[in-house]
């Protein structure tokens, strides 16, 4: 560490001496009030479809609005600038608070009757764009409720993009300072708000455009307007909720699947790339990005491999069907969407586990996808081969490069650390789920699918989580949140050093 860095550290700590808990409270009050507005579209849907299910949403609107107001009022004058530490609290609380608030109408409704555990599970699964569900018989549920679930995922999707593009890089979680815009000077670390606001606006617009395009595509492919809109919500957000028990298999349409593949794929790309392509009207920037190329390469490789195994294992008739199923599932799993057109837990040989492991790879950083993200795997591979080279040339300086540029050692360390902590958390959560009495296949895949925000697992959780005990569901809720927050913000909040002084 240089002397300058030391001096700057002193200054930063001086600034950070007390956390702006008041300002955080103000933000969450506002957030809840804004979020309460999202109860109104389902009311409209309910009236439109005349499903007599509008009152839970109206009640939830009032409850969430009142709670938000109560939080906001005492703190409404706390307008101090947010700092690094506040960022961690906001990031961690964001999904927890919205998960709880989002569960309110689900608890209130009597179609279906849901326990608090199930309601929270469903809401968290929505906001984290996981797509694991505890509901069956979706086709018979009121349209307003179905719409509401889809809408939760849509908001979760934009939330994660803003988090990933604007916030995590500033916080430096798991090497994501990699994506931090190279703005020199001390401004970079201290003030969060202006950059976030500007970025968030652009991302919203982009996200909206993608969603509209996706809905249009689904409609053109033959979906009803209701299905088209609701599925566009969960496609672009790589969420995976559907309005049908059979998921996308319900439509049994090649056109629908192609639209889904295209927009799941788009949702799994770094939104910064979309942003650049949008602003400069240039497509070839995508191809220049090392992570994007790896992302495409993995999807193609897994699709081909799955096709061969499916065809050889005679799971489906003919190459064409095998390819169709394989391509859809590979994209759905890697982007951690979790739509299914076939129950891949029954596929032959290593495929079910291979696909679950693919969700650990996940989509690109700065996308709506879950998992560890392609860029981290890319770095792990390069860092790993550097360690091998270092054994052969113990004294050589071997920089790790990404896109031709050397990667800073802090990032290298952070990526290793992220990987180790991710794997350890996975093992611990899996053992917790085993303790509740689940079998090994179920426990393994349930935690994988929740942490990677995928949705379907293997064994008992291959289509829904109804058979899991309440304790097990709470473990899964934790896994979904940990995965979505990239683990470290949670760990930071648990570390004593964070709360000191």
């Amino acid at each position: 560490m240089s002397r300058h860095a030391g001096a700057r550290l002193g200054r930063l700590q001086g600034d950070d001496r007390h956390m702006n808990l008041g300002a955080v409270q103000r933000i969450f009050g506002m957030l809840l009030m804004i979020f309460s507005l999202t109860m109104l579209p389902p009311v409209g849907i309910s009236l439109l479809f005349d499903d007599h299910n509008w009152s839970p949403f109206a009640d939830a609107f009032a409850i969430v609005l009142a709670t938000g107001l109560l939080l906001w009022l005492p703190a409404r004058h706390r307008r101090r600038e947010l700092r690094l530490r506040d960022g961690f609290i906001i990031v961690a609380l964001f999904w927890i608070v919205l998960g709880l608030a989002g569960a309110v109408p689900l608890v209130l409704t009597d179609r279906p009757v849901m326990t608090v555990t199930d309601a929270v599970f469903e809401a968290v699964s929505g906001f984290t764009t996981t797509g694991a569900t505890t509901l069956v018989g979706l086709d018979d549920l009121p349209p307003s409720l179905l719409y509401y679930r889809q809408q939760i995922q849509w908001f979760g999707g934009i939330g994660i993009v803003v988090l990933a593009v604007a916030l995590l890089p500033v916080l430096g979680v798991g090497g994501m300072q990699l994506l931090k815009a190279e703005t020199p000077g001390p401004v970079k670390d201290a003030k969060l708000t202006p950059r976030i606001t500007a970025t968030a606006k652009a991302l919203w617009l982009l996200y909206l455009v993608l969603t509209v395009a996706c809905a249009g595509g689904y409609y053109a492919a033959g979906m009803s307007p209701f299905d088209a809109i609701t599925h566009s919500f969960t496609t672009v957000s790589s969420g995976g909720y559907s309005t049908h028990d059979a998921s996308l298999a319900h439509f049994d349409s090649v056109a629908v699947e192609i639209v889904a593949i295209a927009f799941m794929f788009a949702g799994g790309i770094n939104f910064s790339l979309h942003f650049i392509a949008w602003r400069y009207r240039r497509i070839r920037d995508y191809g220049r990005d090392a992570e994007f190329r790896a992302y495409v390469g993995i999807i193609v490789a897994v699709t081909l491999l799955s096709t061969v195994i499916l065809y050889a294992g005679e799971a489906f008739d003919g190459v064409a069907t095998s390819l169709r199923r394989a391509a859809f599932t590979a994209v759905s799993v890697q982007t951690s969407t979790g739509y299914t057109t076939a129950d891949f837990s029954l596929w032959p040989g290593a495929l079910p586990v291979l696909l679950i492991f693919l969700s650990f790879v996940g989509g690109s950083a700065g996308s709506t996808a879950g998992g560890m993200k392609v860029v981290r795997w890319l770095l792990i591979a390069r860092q790993g081969s550097r360690e091998v080279l270092r054994l052969i040339h113990p004294r050589a300086e071997l920089p790790v490069k990404l896109g031709g540029k050397p990667v800073r050692w802090q990032i290298v360390d952070a990526v290793w650390g992220f990987f180790a902590v991710y794997v350890t958390c996975f093992a611990v959560l899996m053992m917790m789920l085993l303790s509740t009495g689940e079998n090994q296949v179920t426990a393994f895949s349930a935690i994988a699918t929740c942490m990677n925000n995928l949705g379907p697992g293997l064994g008992e959780v291959s289509s829904n989580f109804t058979t899991i005990s309440p304790a097990g569901k709470w473990i899964c809720v934790m896994a979904m949140l940990l995965g979505r927050l990239e683990i470290f913000p949670m760990l930071v909040l648990l570390s004593p050093a964070f709360w000191r002084r």
Binding site: L12, Q383, E387, W416
Partner: protein
Amino acid sequence: MHFGAVQRILGMLLSLFSLSMLPSAGVSLWYRDGEVHVFVLAFVLLVVVGLLVWWPVRKDRRELRLRDGFLVVALFWVVLSLAGAVPLFLSTQPVVSVTDAVFESVSGLTTTGATVLTGLDSLPKSILYYRQQLQWLGGIGIVVLAVALLPMLGVGGMQLYRAETPGPSKESHKITPRIAQTAKALWVIYVALTVACALAYWLAGMTPFDAIAHSFSTVSTAGFSTHDASLAHFDNRLIEGIAVVFMFIGSVNFALHFLAWRRLRLANYLLDEEFRSFIWALALLVVATWLYLWASGYYASLDEAFFKGLFQVVSTHTTSGFTTADFSLWPGVLPVLLLFTSFIGGCANSTSGGMKVIRWLLIGKQGAREVRRLIHPSAEFPVRIGGRPVQWRVVDAVWGFFSVYVVVYVVMMMLLLAAGHDQVTAFSAIAATLNNLGPGLGAVSASFAALETSSKWVCIVAMLLGRLEIFTLLVLVTPGFWRR
């Protein structure tokens, strides 16, 4: 690279190793089990092959260098594993295929303890003795490798244990003198421990044959037994207690034993941070397992739950793999928990497998540092072991070791799945072999006989990868290693 010198060493090694056939021949004569010719034949074969390898290059006495070290280490286990399979293959009781013979031999020399043989109790004594002896030799092999060689090669952060000899002698990559000297001291300690263990077993009621045979596979934390039922055969808590003690000793850093031996002081053990963590981990796991077994009603009495729990936790944590109960049938999380303890393994520089306690300790500290770094982005937090800061290269190497270990594990598991095995079997078979543990869950809970040929080879590779700490083999498949 000095291929000549490497070849010379391997030739000598094979000739030396051929001598290990003679005790088995002696056992065969003593018990008149009719297997003498097998071992004599194997002896002649190996001596001849060894001499043939050695003869053309006998004058090539060049100093070995860093790169040769990787080659020697990797070839050491591969060549000896093949050589060790010869008598098993030649024997007619039992009749085994080449695959099974190699599997058994690799499992022995890597101190894994996974077996493809059943009906051990009725096998010839000499074959039983030979298996145990393989593990014993594997045990001392790995200790020498870990104490003398890996630190110098810098595999997976093990340069942590490199003696701090300053000056140009380090630069020149000379490895021979130190190894010879260290190896001698380690031999003495190892033999002393084995003798103590054998005596204790004998006094506790084992036959002399069983006592010696089991002492071989206890001190080496290997896990082969002369009975199908493993240590449950004896049904004797004293014997189990002795096994627990010596499995534990075998998985403590032998450098610590060396210090304690030379200065006759026990305090050194407690000064070692890895040792303390190891004890804590064992204690916590024993208590957790004990209470879980008791609370779930699997064992009716507290003391039975305690003894079964204690034995099985120590056996899996030290990656021995002896069993007094089939833990794959234990309730809830226990089977997987025990299997996961083998990923931790014992201390570095011991006979145990797994990733080693020191690496987990470093991963814990390094992980905590990453968290602190998020809170204070520009502060510097050195990672410390025993109060001293750890070099950043070690930190990098440990992270790298961990991720490569996990990735290799996943890839090998998928190979087994692709061969058609169920997930529990595939998951546990690779864990049990990569960590050099032995027994797994599902179809491999007692023996690996149920696996088909290709899967056995996958497991063989896993055992070797685990024993050689992966990187030693990875280096050999790097183009950069062979260039120039």
